[in-house]
């Protein structure tokens, strides 16, 4: 079994991403949406914590939310891929359960 975790909060303000990273199991996927996409930024004070998990976890950022916030692929960590809403639906369908970190 594998879970899809969604994180919609900025990791600089709220501890949701941190808690999610500490609870997700190997092979799970974390989708960063809304203000959660700031967790994908490279060169930030929390980048290393996220980077360390790439590989054992799949980390994906929602493009429409990145664009809204002026963040393009050049600004995010290597190994984080992006998707759109169709991809979000596909991710939800192919994982066994979805857990939102609010």
């Amino acid at each position: 079994m594998a879970s899809l975790h969604t994180v919609n909060k900025s990791p600089f303000s709220i501890n949701s991403l941190k808690s999610c990273l500490e609870h997700a199991n190997d092979g799970d996927t974390i989708l960063l949406i809304e203000d959660g996409i700031y967790g994908a930024l490279k060169g930030s004070e929390i980048s290393q914590i996220v980077a360390d998990k790439i590989g054992s976890l799949s980390i994906i950022a929602l493009e429409p939310d990145m664009k809204a916030r002026g963040i393009d692929s050049s600004k995010i960590l290597t190994g984080i891929i992006t998707t759109n809403y169709d991809g979000f639906v596909e991710l939800a369908a192919k994982h066994d359960v979805c857990q939102a970190w609010l």
Binding site: M1, A2, S3, N15, S16, S19, E22, H23, A24, N25, D28, D96, V97, C98, Q99, A100, W101, L102
Partner: protein, 136 residues
Amino acid sequence: MSEQVKKFLYVNRKAPYGTIYALESLEVVLIGAAFDQDVSLAFIDDGVFQLTKGQDTKEIGVKNFSPTYRALGDYEVTKLYVEKESLIERGLSTDDLQELTYEDEDDDWAEKPSIRIVSRKEMGELMGNQDVVLSF
């Protein structure tokens, strides 16, 4: 309606009273109990504050719903997983929590503790083994 039995996990990550999520989560659990599913509750992060004893809300004029956790056993909600690391980070120990129990009908109605202290790793595994996860 409930031929199918699914594993439901209610994840509580927020402190009581400052926001309504803890109370409205409890309201879902109480209603959900009637559906005969396999129910577990997880208390992590600030959610562990929901279970502390000695809550007295008179002076803030808000209803004290902490006694309701003691009623969960009667609703056959008997698995309350509390994360050890979340307690420690907050300077809490199990002594700070209410004693919650249920009567085990498979064991001659023996009174047993509902709270199960688990590690963060065990909590992650529990989360990964559910059919439906509701987050509050």
